[in-house]
Structures are given as structure tokens and as C-alpha cells.
């Protein structure tokens, strides 16, 4: 027998055995690693907890809770994993806010979900006083409020959070920008803080309203990097406490039994991350998850299935945070300097058909930059119609005609041919690119779709190196368009990358910033909206409502004007799934 072959087979078997052993070990090891990670984080944070000084009045508070049966878990499927649970971190996305904001860490005031404009309800703070000249705001905290570890919330925590935010070494540049206007925060006494502002600006007042309060005793740091690195285990005063984060799989919150206010009924909230839409739907239908945000096709088709409607609720509501899609025309290029050309391009995009097909009719065409059901938006402005003939006429007026017979319009020797840049991999952007290319070709304009990778895309946008971009802005119930449309934001890396420069618009925006009287301010913004509509710096495309599928076992799911509040929900005892 050939010794070589004997050795060989033996080695092969050994290798096989080793591989199997390795797998098993690795699977065990990786889970142990998660446990260790979470355990480590917990021990670090618990070491910083001092003994609680004040004894919270537990008996009185714990009697307060939302009506309904207690118990059960809510498993919420978010489509992408969050990278940080630190609300002040610049990488905190909307999903981070779903997980942490209001549940673990609370703001001073919260938005009234039944209003149609910005209206603040007291949360941690009792009231807000604004001085006569609008330059000083005094906040008074409620009494008997405390964090989840029993330590009371004081003015020191507000000052701490503010100073952390303004610390240049802390990684929260974009949030800091909104508090730029505040020169200082002064502690008046244990419950009151005074913010002093440089100039009158209505947005600062609302930002102070939604100010999160971080507990100083657990978050204080010597080295700012400590705070930047603290991406997990958030601690706050909210109705839920962070339990664990299995990276890549789930984040678990459990109810704060020491909560100072009305306790919600749901004992645990589990956030899962399933990025694939089909998988998310299947997970919902097999009751692995209880809630997720579907796409327009799913939300139209699934409710038609009677079995599905029996088990799941479909919720559709307009959410200002959704924002809108738009096409930005770079006004530094020869083509788009003339406003008639921009108007023509808007007349070439069939936005109604886009809404029909891409959002199954649930969305709406947008005419300006404001939330369409907010007070800043002027509802009387009608969108430009889809009218290729009018577009051709406008183009003729602006001097773009086909002089050399090649089918493409031109002027001064420049053919009307441009690159339409959008983020590669974005399906709806690609569909819009193909539609625009075809529609524009009919009037003699050649559009070259240019899908670009995200990082290069950002670079181009910042360097103003593009002809046309297709993008999306997120929104708020009331926003300040200064960042996007004021002429001072054109140079450098400002957000006015289409180089929109209009005297009148500038003035209106500046005046509106100083205007603290709501009605006057809305009137100014209506005028601004009209200018946007005439000038068409963007072709404002469309927006759509938010959709949710929610397991029907959750009762009291009320759809307010501005959204849903999961603290109100409960599951009747006989339908509860988890203990």
C-alpha cells in the first residue's frame, strides 16, 4: 500500500474534522463575545452610578399608567441597523431617534401629535418663558422627575447636555449648528435654566423645546472621545431602559418600572433589523415581528388579502419627517441660468404619473419645500402641469432652438445636452432618470443618466461639479429654508448647491427668521413659497405618507394628525404572545 496515499486520506479526514470543530467553536464563541460585550458595557456604566440620594416616591408614581392590560412585547422591524444609540452623535439617524428619543431619553417638551403646526407640550419642563425682546428663554423643570436609576433631573443636567453639545471636540456638528445662536446657558436655581441668544430666531426656540436631557452623573467625561465612543447603553429619564444590543440582530428595551410619569403597558420593545423587504414581510406574517414599514407596492397589495387584513392593521399617515424628492438644476451651468428653462423642465416631468406609479397613488405632488400639510405651505399654489408643448414654447422663448438639424436644441453653439446625476443603486431615481430622458428627448433635449456612487456623489455635490442632481430632503413640521435657499449658502460647502440667488427670497427668509409672531411668519413664508414656485430652483417632485403594518393584537392604535404614539397601545391579556 502506498504510504503517500494513506497519509493523504488521513490528512484529509483530519482537515474535515478540524473544519467542523472550528465551526461549532466559532458559533459558540461569537455568541459569547456578544454577551461579553454587553456585560462589559453594563459594568462600565454601573460603575459610574453613585448611590441615589433622593428616594423616589415609588408608590405614588407607579400607580399611574396608561389604560389597558399590561404585558407583552412589541417587536419592531427597522430596515437598517443603527450605528449608534447616542442621540448627540452625528451618525444618529431617524431610526436612532425611534429607538432612543422619547423612549429612553426625553426632551424638555414634546410635539403635540394632534396639532398641524409646531406646538409644544410640557414633558420634562413645565413651562417656557420668553422675554420681551425674544433674546432670553427661561425653562422651568417639573418637580419630582428622575432618571431611571432614581437620581432626580436637575438644571445641572440641562447645562451639562448643552455644554457637551457645544464642545467642538464632540462629534455632533450638525446639531450644534442649530444652537449656534445661543451664547450661553445660565443656571438660575435647581429647577430653572436661562438660555441667552444672540439674535431673535424662532427656530432656536423650537430647538430648545426639543432639547434632550442627558444625565450628567452617568455621562460626564474627562476626555471628549469617551463620550463620542459611547454609542451604546443610553441612560435617561424615559419610560424604557436599555437592556441589550446584539450587534447585527436586535436591540432590546424593557420598561422602566421606576418611571416618574404614566407608564406604558408594553413591557419590552425589541428592535430587529431586516433589510430585505420580502424577508421583512415574511417575518411579519409568521409573527416573528409585529410591526414594520412597508413600501408602496406592499401597502397597496397586502391589505387585499382577507387573511392578512384579519391579522394585521394597515396604517397610513402624513409625517412631516418624510420629506420630499426633488431635481436640482445647477444654475451655474449655461442651460439653467434662465428661469424659463427651469420652468420648462418642470413641465416635462409628469409628476402626477410618477405619484400614480411609484407610490401607487398614495403620494402627492409637492410645490415647495415645506411640509404640504403644515402652515408654512401655501395650499393655493397649483403645481406646474405636465405639458410638453408649453415646455417647448418656453424653451423657444429662452432662445434654445434646434439650429443644426440634429434634433437637439442649442444656443450659442452649446447643444442642450447634460448629465443627470443620481445615487447609484437607487431604484426610484433610476426610474425617474429613464422617464425624464425619454420625455426630454421628445422636445429635443438630450439627458445622459449618470449614476454615481454615494461618496463620489457627495463630493461632486459639495464641489458643485454637476449639471443636475436628484435627491431627497427630510423635513420637519416647520422648517427654516435659509440653509438651502439663501444666497450666503452658495459658496463653500453650504447646502445651496444649486446656487439659487434671489434678492427678494433672501429678504423674506431673513425677515421670517426674526419674526416670532406665528401668523406673520407664515404669511412671509407663503410669499417665499410663491417665489420658489415661480423660480423653480428645484423641480419639486413628490412626497408620500408613512405606512406601517401592525399586528392587530395591539389595541388602542390611534392615528393622530402627526403620527402614532406607541405608549398608548396595549394587548388584551388573552392575546399576549410573550411573557
Amino acid at each position: 500500500m502506498n504510504t503517500r496515499s494513506g497519509w493523504f486520506t488521513f490528512l484529509l479526514f483530519l482537515l474535515l474534522l478540524a473544519m467542523i470543530l472550528l465551526q461549532v467553536l466559532s458559533m459558540v464563541q461569537s455568541d459569547r463575545l456578544y454577551e461579553r460585550l454587553n456585560f462589559l458595557l453594563e459594568t462600565i456604566s454601573s460603575r459610574q452610578m453613585p448611590a441615589s440620594k433622593a428616594e423616589p416616591n415609588l408608590t405614588a408614581q407607579s400607580a399611574q399608567k396608561y389604560p389597558g392590560d399590561e404585558g407583552d412585547w412589541l417587536v419592531w422591524d427597522l430596515s437598517g441597523e443603527v450605528r449608534t444609540l447616542n442621540l448627540l452623535n452625528v451618525d444618529a439617524t431617524l431610526d436612532t431617534r425611534y429607538i432612543v428619543s422619547g423612549t429612553i431619553i426625553e426632551p424638555l417638551f414634546e410635539q403635540d401629535l394632534d396639532a398641524d403646526k409646531e406646538k409644544l407640550k410640557p414633558k420634562l419642563a413645565e413651562k417656557m418663558d420668553i422675554s420681551e425682546d425674544g433674546l432670553e428663554i427661561t425653562i422651568k423643570l417639573k418637580d419630582n422627575i428622575y432618571f431611571s436609576d432614581g437620581v432626580p433631573v436637575t438644571a445641572d443636567d440641562i447645562i451639562f447636555t448643552f455644554e457637551t453639545m457645544m464642545n467642538p471636540k464632540i462629534d455632533c456638528a450638525d446639531l450644534r449648528n442649530y444652537f449656534d445662536n445661543i451664547t450661553g446657558a445660565v443656571k438660575l436655581d435647581n429647577r430653572r435654566v436661562k438660555f441667552v441668544m444672540k439674535e431673535r430666531y424662532w427656530k432656536t426656540i423650537s430647538m430648545i423645546g426639543s432639547f434632550y436631557v442627558f444625565p450628567r452623573h452617568t455621562y460626564q467625561f474627562n476626555d471628549p472621545n469617551e463620550f463620542n465612543k459611547r454609542i451604546s447603553n443610553p441612560i435617561g429619564s424615559g419610560p424604557y431602559v436599555f437592556e441589550k444590543w446584539d450587534v447585527g440582530q436586535q436591540i432590546v428595551l424593557r420598561r422602566n418600572e421606576n418611571y416618574w410619569d404614566k407608564k406604558p403597558n408594553i413591557k419590552k420593545i425589541v428592535f430587529k433589523f431586516i433589510s430585505n423587504a420580502t424577508a421583512a414581510l415574511q417575518a411579519l406574517r409568521s409573527h416573528d415581528t409585529d410591526m414594520f414599514e412597508p413600501g408602496s407596492e406592499q401597502v397597496t397589495d397586502m391589505p387585499k388579502d382577507p387573511q392578512f387584513s384579519k391579522e394585521f392593521r394597515t396604517i397610513i399617515f402624513w409625517d412631516p419627517s418624510f420629506g420630499y424628492w426633488y431635481i436640482g438644476w445647477n444654475e451655474q451651468r449655461a442651460f439653467f441660468k434662465d428661469r424659463r428653462v427651469r420652468q420648462a423642465m418642470t413641465c416635462l416631468t409628469d409628476r402626477k404619473a410618477m405619484v400614480e406609479q411609484l407610490t401607487r397613488g398614495k403620494g402627492a405632488v409637492v410645490t415647495g419645500t415645506f411640509y404640504i400639510y403644515g402652515r408654512q405651505n401655501d395650499p393655493n399654489i397649483q403645481p406646474w402641469p405636465y405639458d410638453p408643448q408649453k415646455a417647448a414654447q418656453l424653451l423657444d422663448e429662452a432662445g434654445w432652438k434646434d439650429t443644426d438639424g440634429d434634433g437637439i436644441r442649442d444656443k450659442d453653439g452649446i447643444p442642450f445636452r447634460f448629465k443627470y446625476s443620481y445615487v447609484a443603486g437607487n431604484i426610484s431615481a433610476e426610474q425617474m432618470a429613464r422617464l425624464l430622458k425619454d420625455d426630454a428627448a421628445k422636445v429635443g433635449i438630450e439627458v445622459i443618466p449618470n449614476p454615481t456612487e454615494w461618496s463620489i456623489f457627495i463630493g461632486n455635490v459639495n464641489a458643485r461639479d454637476f449639471d443636475v442632481v436628484e435627491l431627497m430632503w427630510g423635513g420637519v413640521i416647520e422648517e427654516d429654508p435659509y440653509q438651502i435657499f439663501h444666497s450666503s449658502q452658495i459658496q463653500g460647502r453650504g447646502n445651496n448647491y444649486v446656487s439659487f440667488n434671489n434678492r427678494q427670497a433672501d429678504e423674506l427668509m431673513e425677515r421670517a427668521r426674526r419674526e416670532l409672531d406665528e401668523e406673520k411668519r407664515y404669511a412671509l413664508y407663503h410669499q417665499f413659497h410663491r417665489i420658489l414656485h415661480e423660480e423653480q430652483p428645484y423641480t419639486f417632485l413628490m412626497t408620500r405618507p408613512r405606512y406601517y403594518f401592525i399586528d392587530k393584537r395591539f389595541e388602542n392604535v390611534i392615528v393622530h394628525k402627526l403620527g402614532i404614539d406607541l405608549f398608548e397601545w396595549y394587548v388584551p391579556k388573552e392575546k399576549q404572545r410573550y411573557k
Binding site: L281, G407, I408, G425, Q431, D438, K442, P449
Partner: protein, 410 residues
């Protein structure tokens, strides 16, 4: 199958290696079917704008209309052919000429002179091709013609028009008929913006075929040369060569792709080059392994002692014996290139729209959330399946034909 038999005029010449392989290949019916299928595929690719186009071959304008155009006859389709289309026609003609001269050589030219003659013909044709393409790109203008000729016909502005087989253009959209299943108007249905699937499938043939060939061509040639040199010489050359191969293999492919895509415009050619550059290492390693085994065998020693040039030893003696794994790899590689292109489209790095490619159509069919539009993924998938199978079966047939031990009596 009589047409494909070779008649040899001068019996003294005997049959050359190429003729032998050809005869073996064409004996098997499966191989012939695959060969014909590939020929049909190529023809479709070359003549795509004449098969599927929204402009008619010829249109006669109505006699009631503006005085400039009434009664006139136009040829919109031919007017709208691009420089690319003409280049493809030129390449097809040149290729056909080469094939014919190959046949003619085998009959009329002395076998000893044949290689030299062949090289001369190939170089002449390549020069003609390149010059032609350059001239075409310079002189054929870019035109834009988006007139809806079918609407003109329906509306009475034009009296007669002759449309190609599939009267739709691959870039034309019609959002009112988007996402329709196969029906009378659109034989294979429409996609998410209303373009006709059959038309895009036909035009996609060009893209997919060229991706397969160019990518595999680059990777095959570079890989074989590298592997042969490494495997034959061994020692230091093998060492250094393998280090280079290891470094090439370890660089994440996506990185290279993103970097190249960032710097150069989003074009099909760049993608093909990238796929070729990142896949030659596999072939190199196969050839190296085989050559390491072969170089100590007797026939190689004999060739060396005869004093044959290196090029001859490597490629005429050793390579046919070590080709088997590379043949398999190459035939899979052609289809693999199509799949890589499809994966790139899925992740957002494929060809820019509206250029159709089977990979891009497949990825759109897959990523629609919710409802399952079967025709969007089924037909491109079927096309890929048939192409892949044809290439692979042909590759296997080629492998069998080259194998001297399988030679059947002529």
C-alpha cells in the same frame, strides 16, 4: 450538415490540426446545435437595431400636411443609426471576411505558409477595423430623434410605414403601460417604466455577449501566459509570479471596481476590463499547476532537447495537454462575466441606463419589493440560461474534440 464539411483540394497536404478539431467537433449533433444557436445570437446582436426599433424603415408622409413634407418618403431608421451601430456592422463584416479567408486558406494555401498568411490577413483586418471605427466615430453625428412614428401613422399624418419586427425602442418609456404582463402589444411584457421587454432583451444581447467575450478574453490570455511561464520555469520566477498573483487575488474586487468607476466614465468597456483584470488569477493558477506536472514528462524533455523555441514548447506542445481545466474555466467564465455584471447592476455599479443588459434586467426583476413580476426575471434568465448552456456544451465539445484519445475515425 453537408455544408460544414471541408473539402481538401490537395490530398498531399493532409489534415491540419485545426481541421481535425473542426471535423471532430462537427460530428456531434449537440455541438452543431450549440454552434447554430451562438451564430443566431451573434446575428441578433449585430442586427439588433434593425430587428427592434421604434423608428420605421421607411415612412411616407400624408399628402395632406405641411407643404414641405407632403408626399415625401423618409428613412428614419437608417438616419438614426449611431456610430456604434455602424462599428458593429463593420466588425461583423470583417469577422465574416476572416472566416471565409480561413476556409479559403485551408483549401488553396500550402500548410507551411498558412500561419504567415493568416497572420497577415488578421493584421490587415484589425487595421481596417480600427481605422474604420475611428473614422465612424468622428464622422457620424449624434442625432436625437424621438418622434412617435406610430402615433403619426395612427393619426393620419403618415400614410404607410414599414416597422421592424419589434416596433419599440429600448429607451422609450410609457409609464401608462408600465409593469404589464405579456400581451398582444408587448410580447414579453413591459418593465417598471414601460419599456418593452423583448426589445430590451434583443439589444441586451450586444452588451452581454461583448461582456462575456472581452472579459474572458483578457483574463484568459493574461492568465494563460502568466501561468505557463510560472509553471514551466519554476524556482524564482514561480516564486515572484505567485506573489504577484497572491497580491492581485487579495485586493478586494469591489475596491478596484469602485475606484475605476469613479475615475472613468460609466461605460461598458471599463466594466469588461475590470472583470477581466480581476479574474485572470484563477486561470493562471490552473495552468501553473498543470505545467508543473507536465514539464517533467518525456515529450517536453524531447521538445527541449530538440531545441524548439520556448513559444513553441509552451503553446504548441504543453498547452493542448493542460487545457482541460482552463477550457472549463473559460466557458464558465463567459457566463460568469454576465453574472458578475448582473451582480454589479444589483449593487448599483452596472451600465448606465437606459442601456439594456440582461444582468441589469434581471436585477430590476429581482428587486421590486412586494409583488412578483415574473416576466421581468424569467425572460432574461431564460436568455442567460440558453447562452450559458450553449457556451458550456460547446466548450465541452471542444475539449472532447481536442482530446486525441477520443478521436473517432474520420
Amino acid at each position: 450538415m453537408k455544408k460544414l464539411e471541408l473539402k481538401i483540394d490537395n490530398k498531399n497536404w493532409g489534415t491540419s490540426y485545426g481541421q481535425l478539431v473542426w471535423q471532430q467537433l462537427t460530428k456531434n449533433r449537440t455541438n452543431l446545435v450549440c454552434l447554430w444557436f451562438i451564430i443566431v445570437l451573434f446575428t441578433t446582436a449585430v442586427f439588433a437595431p434593425l430587428i427592434a426599433n421604434d423608428k420605421p424603415f421607411v415612412v411616407r408622409m400624408a399628402s395632406t400636411g405641411s407643404p414641405q413634407v407632403e408626399g415625401k418618403v423618409y428613412f428614419p431608421l437608417f438616419g438614426a443609426l449611431t456610430a456604434n451601430d455602424y462599428s458593429v456592422f463593420l466588425a461583423a463584416i470583417v469577422g465574416a471576411i476572416l472566416l471565409f479567408s480561413l476556409r479559403r486558406n485551408s483549401r488553396k494555401v500550402d500548410p507551411f505558409l498558412r500561419p504567415a498568411v493568416l497572420w497577415r490577413q488578421i493584421s490587415i483586418c484589425t487595421v481596417i477595423l480600427f481605422l474604420g471605427i475611428i473614422l465612424l466615430q468622428i464622422f457620424i453625428p449624434r442625432k436625437l430623434d424621438a418622434t412617435d412614428y406610430r402615433a403619426m401613422l395612427a393619426g393620419g399624418k403618415a400614410t404607410d410605414a414599414v416597422f421592424p419586427l419589434v416596433p419599440y425602442g429600448y429607451g422609450r418609456t410609457d409609464i401608462k403601460v408600465c409593469q404589464r404582463p405579456p400581451n398582444r402589444n408587448h410580447w414579453l411584457g413591459t418593465d417598471d417604466v414601460g419599456s418593452d421587454v423583448l426589445c430590451r432583451l434583443i439589444h441586451g444581447t450586444r452588451i452581454s455577449l461583448s461582456v462575456g467575450f472581452v472579459a474572458v478574453g483578457i483574463s484568459g490570455i493574461v492568465g494563460i501566459i502568466f501561468g505557463a511561464i510560472m509553471g514551466y520555469f519554476g524556482g524564482k520566477i514561480d516564486f515572484l509570479g505567485m506573489r504577484l498573483v497572491e497580491i492581485m487575488m487579495s485586493v478586494p474586487t469591489f475596491f478596484l471596481i469602485i475606484t475605476i468607476v469613479a475615475f472613468f466614465p460609466r461605460s461598458l468597456f471599463n466594466i469588461m476590463v475590470i472583470i477581466g483584470i480581476t479574474s485572470w488569477t484563477d486561470d493562471a493558477r490552473f495552468i501553473r499547476a498543470e505545467f508543473l506536472k507536465l514539464r517533467n514528462q518525456d515529450f517536453v524533455q524531447a521538445a527541449v532537447s530538440l531545441g524548439l523555441p520556448l513559444r513553441s514548447i509552451l503553446f504548441r506542445h504543453m498547452l493542448p495537454n493542460g487545457m482541460a481545466p482552463v477550457l472549463v474555466s473559460v466557458t464558465f467564465g463567459v457566463a460568469g462575466a454576465i453574472f458578475i455584471e448582473s451582480a454589479l447592476s444589483f449593487l448599483g455599479f452596472g451600465v448606465a441606463p437606459p442601456t439594456p443588459s440582461w444582468g441589469q434586467m434581471l436585477s430590476t426583476g429581482v428587486s421590486t419589493t412586494g409583488e412578483f413580476l415574473w416576466w421581468l426575471s424569467f425572460f432574461p434568465g431564460l436568455a442567460i440560461f440558453f447562452t450559458v448552456t450553449a457556451y458550456n456544451l460547446l466548450g465541452e465539445g471542444l475539449r472532447d474534440a481536442i482530446d486525441p484519445k477520443l478521436r473517432k475515425a474520420v
